[in-house]
């Protein structure tokens, strides 16, 4: 999973949308099924709801263990929303999309979107 060390996906969509850029960082430890599931789930959620305004960085702590301390990681997987503030953390395999979005404290691109008010 070498490619996880650098930002793997950058969706430079038209920047004229309402929200600012969302910087996300996902911490995993090796290629466990839970880690892989988290990566897949995150990609799906971002593509569905944050298309064009997100950055995902996946960090494998087995390779850069010092980052666990620097970024205060305890649970794995942990998704950290670095920007915009406030800083939020979502732990788990991100299987519950709604909780991920609530946790990130961001609304989908289109307020009238399908995910609202269910």
């Amino acid at each position: 999973m070498k490619r996880d060390q650098e930002p793997i996906e950058k969706a430079d969509g038209p920047a004229g949308m309402a929200g600012e850029r969302i910087e996300l960082r996902l911490y995993v430890a090796g290629q466990t099924s839970r880690s892989l599931a988290a990566i897949d789930n995150l990609r799906r959620i971002c593509e569905e709801d944050l298309k064009g305004r997100y950055t995902i960085e996946v960090i494998d702590l087995l390779q850069t263990p010092q980052l666990a301390r620097a970024d205060q990681i305890v649970a794995i997987p942990t998704l950290v929303k670095k920007l915009p503030p406030p800083l939020r953390r979502i732990i788990g395999d991100l299987s519950n999309s709604e909780r991920v979005l609530i946790g990130l404290d961001i609304r989908p691109v289109d307020p009238a979107g399908a995910h609202h008010g269910s």
């Binding site: 789930n41 666990a68 990681i73 794995i76 800083l87 395999d93």
Partner: protein, 588 residues
């Protein structure tokens, strides 16, 4: 996840030899655990808030790093690195320097519940990685995790946490790390989240109890698998020197005894004690009623000690140091210069300020620091206010034992209400522990109170059985022989009056004797004169006799001549004679 059932039997059977132990370096704790914590195992330290869990864990690591060559990792869940450094500094630990030397690694784990959302299953691999990274970075042999239970408050899904903690303890064991895990005490169990279920090798409980408004910290080793340990609750103290645990059962009777002597500081008292004073390392009890001069005896002893260039530690439970200095100056004992030379140290505290155990701990600590040769505790009776007799007795026993073990000559003062030591008083209980027991008694008669000092016992030396009058003069303590006569023991002005009378009588007697001597001398002269006269008389008589004899002699000689002349005349040789004879012949 590992099966919990598999956990138990494996580590026990793996070590056929004796359980290896890791010294904590904490004063007293290694004693009651018979050597320290189990090597390669995790020890649970539980207790209520503010009872010293964090400090115990921190001290374990610091001593490991500084004294036993075992670097340590501290995982702090509650305190930030800055707070921890401050706490460490208060105990004299320079955590930053230890970190710089790569002997200690501190990782502060911050878990903010409000910024965490859960979505699906998770594990604590992040924590494992951090811990592993910190351990590998300094080659740690010791780990302290303070307080794991914060995880339960910070992270959702306790079931996952439990499984992960079990995995954590197993992981620590597999890595051969000696660890301390702290946990908050729970309402119905040792810990709030039942950590004791996972850690079964060694469990230490800390406690901070308040009774009669006095709080005492206590430590108890609840469990120590595969090792003997002291299961008693023992008091412990936290002060600028760190944690110190006070083992109750260090009582032994194998201390060295000394035959060398130390002066009591009062020459007259030394004279009563076989002329040399107390035995070095012995325990002296001075009991007496109010104002009987107990402190003066203590101060005299302290002054003598310091003048010899030795250190003396003086515990005051009644007065302040300045008060004692002033009072002692009035009886000619100036302590101030000795304090300046740091030979004499006072430690004054109200007995009620803390519990007996804490007082004892403090005594231990101060003695360890100052290493005095003499300790004075003035008075021990005040301690009774804060504990029942049983506690006091046990405390005093341990205290005396402690001093004896260190060859410190100890003087204890004790206040007695009655003039006779009563049966139920604590001093009777400790009297068997003391080597020398001096009693200062009030002797009241003729409208005044005087003090009488006597030695009730003094082991191993010839001592006076006399009661002496105890006088506080401005030159210090004086012991004066009391007057023992037909009227009983006389002291004070009665003794003075008696002594004046005695003096007068003595003078009278002396005069009488002189008179008699003179009379004898006169008589001798008279007799001598008589003898002379008789001698003279005798000589005179002898003279007369001699003369008579001489005369006799002479006349005898003349007769012989006459006869010869007559005989010649008869033969016609001598005419003159013939004439005479003729006449005579003619006449008849």
């Amino acid at each position: 996840m590992n099966s919990p059932a598999a956990k138990e039997p494996e580590p026990k059977t793996s070590g056929p030899g004796r359980l290896e132990k890791v010294p904590t370096g904490i004063q007293g704790l290694d004693e009651i655990t018979c050597g320290g914590l189990p090597r390669g195992r995790t020890t649970l330290v539980c207790g209520g808030p503010g009872c010293g869990k964090t400090l115990l864990a921190l001290e374990f690591l610091v001593h490991g790093a500084t004294r036993f060559g075992e670097p340590g990792v501290f995982i702090a869940f509650e305190e930030t690195a800055g707070e921890l450094a401050t706490n460490g500094a208060s105990l004299g630990f320079d955590l930053a320097a230890l970190e710089a030397d790569r002997k200690l690694a501190i990782d502060y784990v911050r878990i903010e519940r409000s910024e965490i959302e859960e979505s699906g299953e998770y594990d604590l691999e992040g924590l494992f990685i951090r811990l592993g990274f910190a351990i590998d970075s300094i080659g740690a042999r010791r780990v302290a995790i303070d307080t794991l239970e914060v995880l339960f408050a910070g992270l959702p899904n306790p079931d996952i946490l439990r499984a992960e903690l079990r995995r954590l303890f197993r992981w620590l064991k597999d890595k051969g790390l000696t660890a301390i895990v702290t946990a908050e005490r729970g309402d119905d169990g040792l810990t709030r989240h039942g950590l004791e279920e996972y850690i079964s090798d060694c469990v230490i409980n800390l406690d901070n109890r308040v009774s009669d408004q006095i709080s005492t910290r206590r430590l108890r080793v609840l469990k120590y698998r595969g090792s003997a340990h002291d299961a008693n609750e023992v008091p412990f103290l936290i002060d600028q020197g760190g944690l110190s645990v006070l083992p109750v059962s260090s009582l032994g009777l194998d201390h060295q005894v000394s035959t060398s002597r130390v002066s009591s500081g009062v020459p007259d008292l030394d004279a009563m004690l076989g002329g040399e004073g107390y035995f070095r390392g012995s325990t002296v009890l001075v009991s007496g009623s109010i104002g009987s001069g107990k402190t003066s005896l203590g101060a005299s002893f302290a002054r003598w000690t310091c003048r010899e260039g030795k250190r003396c530690l003086y515990f005051l439970f009644e007065e302040s140091p300045s008060q004692v200095c002033r009072n002692m100056r009035s009886v000619g004992i100036d302590l101030a210069p000795l304090i300046e030379q740091d030979l004499l140290r006072f430690h004054s505290s109200r007995p009620s300020a803390t519990s007996l155990e804490m007082h004892l701990s403090r005594i231990h600590r101060l003695v360890s620091e100052f290493e005095p040769e003499v300790a004075v505790i003035d008075p021990i009776t005040n301690l009774r206010a804060i504990g029942n007799d049983c506690e006091l007795r046990s405390t005093l026993t341990r205290m005396i034992d402690f001093f004896k073990g260190r060859q410190i000559t100890t003087l204890l003062t004790s206040l007695t209400v009655s003039t006779q030591p009563s049966e139920d008083s604590s001093e009777v209980h400790i009297s068997s522990l003391v080597d020398t027991w001096i009693l200062v008694r009030e002797l009241e008669s003729d409208g005044e109170r005087n003090r009488g000092l006597c030695i009730l016992k003094s082991r191993g030396m010839a001592h006076s059985n006399q009661v002496r009058e105890f006088r506080l003069t401005d030159q210090g303590i004086k012991l004066i022989d009391v007057y023992l006569g037909t009227d009983g023991v006389l002291v004070g002005s009665a003794r003075e009056a008696r002594m004046i009378r005695d003096e007068a009588e003595a003078r009278e007697r002396e005069y009488e004797a002189q008179k008699r001597q003179r009379r004898v001398a006169q008589r001798r002269d008279a007799v001598r004169a008589q003898i002379d006269a008789l001698n003279a008389e005798l000589e005179a008589e002898e003279e007369v006799l001699r003369r008579a004899v001489e005369r006799e002699h002479l006349s005898e000689g003349g007769l012989a001549r006459d006869e010869a002349r007559m005989a010649a005349a008869r033969a016609g040789v001598d005419t003159s004679l013939a004439d005479g004879n003729q006449v005579r012949t003619v006449q008849p």
